[in-house]
């Protein structure tokens, strides 16, 4: 009975092993190593437990990403060759915490600011940031008869400074973005790449930011539009979109090296662009070779 018990246990763990396999199959190597401390079956259990508490994605975020998927891939899941982007990964994060800070001021057109915390744990070290946007999505009921011009003031907060480290001045990042609130627009994107690039490159796991808008009042023609705009903005927490180039071996790079070869043969300074693409050497080489041949 001992032997049969042992066999049964062996079969059970083997069964779990096969179930565990798929998720780690698609994880980049370093990811698996990081969480590889636990043998697979226990990792699955922790995932399953995590699965029980698995955070359900926000419905608006889900709708946006399904639309993005349809734009980039066929029904069978084949990436469309028509797209020209360089990224092979797009991650959408909804804020895991959101606090309303200063109230708005309807007279000067300053909207209430919100304090947002994004957890970037799922970004792997092999994923390099190419572009990042704050995404405000609107449900169908919101519609504005006119274009509203706003200035967005975004401040990245440093995590609570411990006594040892000196608190660094928070970044302040102001830019001018014209928003067209019309029926057809379901979302607006605010590019925050230059702000997030250093943070993602330094593997920051969570990003804490405060966002507020100042909108030119004369653009809001009808008082009702003003009320609607003022009452709507705090309800719509923005999502954070990261467009990344995953450099792991599992990720698809086909178009990237093709794109790079084309660029390398055009750009004079090969050196800098080589650094941008680890495999650039041989693609640049074959680019040069084909040029010589021509």
């Amino acid at each position: 009975s001992q032997a049969s018990k042992g066999e049964a246990r062996g079969a059970a763990s083997a069964e779990l092993e096969t179930e565990a396999e798929p998720r780690s199959l698609l994880q980049p190597l370093d990811e698996r190593n990081r969480s590889g401390l636990l043998p697979c079956p226990f990792k699955v259990l922790s995932d399953e437990r995590g699965g029980a508490h698995r955070l359900q994605p926000d419905s608006r975020a889900l709708r946006y990403m399904k639309r993005l998927y349809k734009a980039y891939a066929t029904k069978e899941g084949i990436p469309k060759s028509s797209r020209s982007h360089l990224y092979n990964t797009v991650r959408l994060f909804t804020p895991c915490a959101q606090h309303k800070q200063t109230p708005g001021n309807q007279v000067t057109g300053i909207l209430p600011s919100v304090d947002l915390l994004f957890n970037l744990d799922s970004v792997t070290t092999l994923e390099h940031l190419l572009k990042s946007v704050l995404l405000y999505t609107f449900n169908d009921s919101v519609s504005f008869p006119s274009a509203v011009k706003c200035v967005c003031n975004l401040v990245i907060m440093e995590p609570k400074a411990s006594s040892k480290t000196l608190p660094r001045a928070p970044y302040s990042f102001t830019f001018n973005s014209k928003f067209e609130f019309r029926k057809k627009h379901k979302w607006i994107e605010i590019d925050v790449t230059t702000l997030l690039q250093p943070l993602v490159a330094s593997n920051k796991r969570s990003i804490h930011m405060s966002v507020n808008f100042t909108c030119e009042k004369d653009q809001l023609q009808h008082p009702s539009a003003q009320d609607r705009w003022f009452n709507m903005s705090p309800l719509v927490p923005p999502s954070l979109l990261l467009y990344l180039n995953d450099t792991s071996i599992q990720a698809y790079h086909g178009w990237y090296s093709l794109h790079y070869t084309r660029r390398a043969s055009q750009s004079p300074d090969q050196k800098t662009s080589l650094a941008a693409h680890p495999m650039g050497e041989e693609t640049a080489e074959c680019g040069r070779a084909s040029r010589h041949r021509r």
């Binding site: 179930e19 798929p22 998720r23 698609l26 995932d47 995590g50 699965g51 698995r54 955070l55 359900q56 994605p57 926000d58 975020a61 889900l62 990403m65 399904k66 993005l68 998927y69 980039y72 891939a73 029904k75 069978e76 899941g77 084949i78 990436p79 092979n88 990964t89 797009v90 991650r91 959408l92 994060f93 909804t94 895991c96 957890n119 744990d121 799922s122 995953d246 071996i249 599992q250 990720a251 698809y252 790079h253 086909g254």
Partner: protein, 135 residues
Amino acid sequence: GQETVSSKLKESLVPASFNLSEYFKQFLFPQNECELHDFRLSFSQLKWDNWILAPHRYNPRYCKGDCPRAVGHRYGSPVHTMVQNIIYEKLDSSVPRPSCVPAKYSPLSVLAVEPDGSIAYKEYEDMIATKCTCR
């Protein structure tokens, strides 16, 4: 005399017991030769549907069949494949015959939910077999 001439012509062109399908059979490839096969599955069968949202259907395809002795250019096989076949047939049958395996793949785009609730669009390399070879 015209009728006799035309009937003579007919006889010489098409013998009475001629069977067209039998004739063409000699040009068909062997039935079970190495080639690409479909295998459509849904991620729920793999129990991955709790984190993969799209695509709904996935056809990884696979290669199956016998490798003909003279693989030649049709399978893009190197000369080594024929050498291995000769070793198997003439010298040592414990050396395996060449196998029918994928030679080329295409990528797959996946929409997945991460454990922290974030959503990821990812393009994975080598997820669908598109060409077979004998190696």
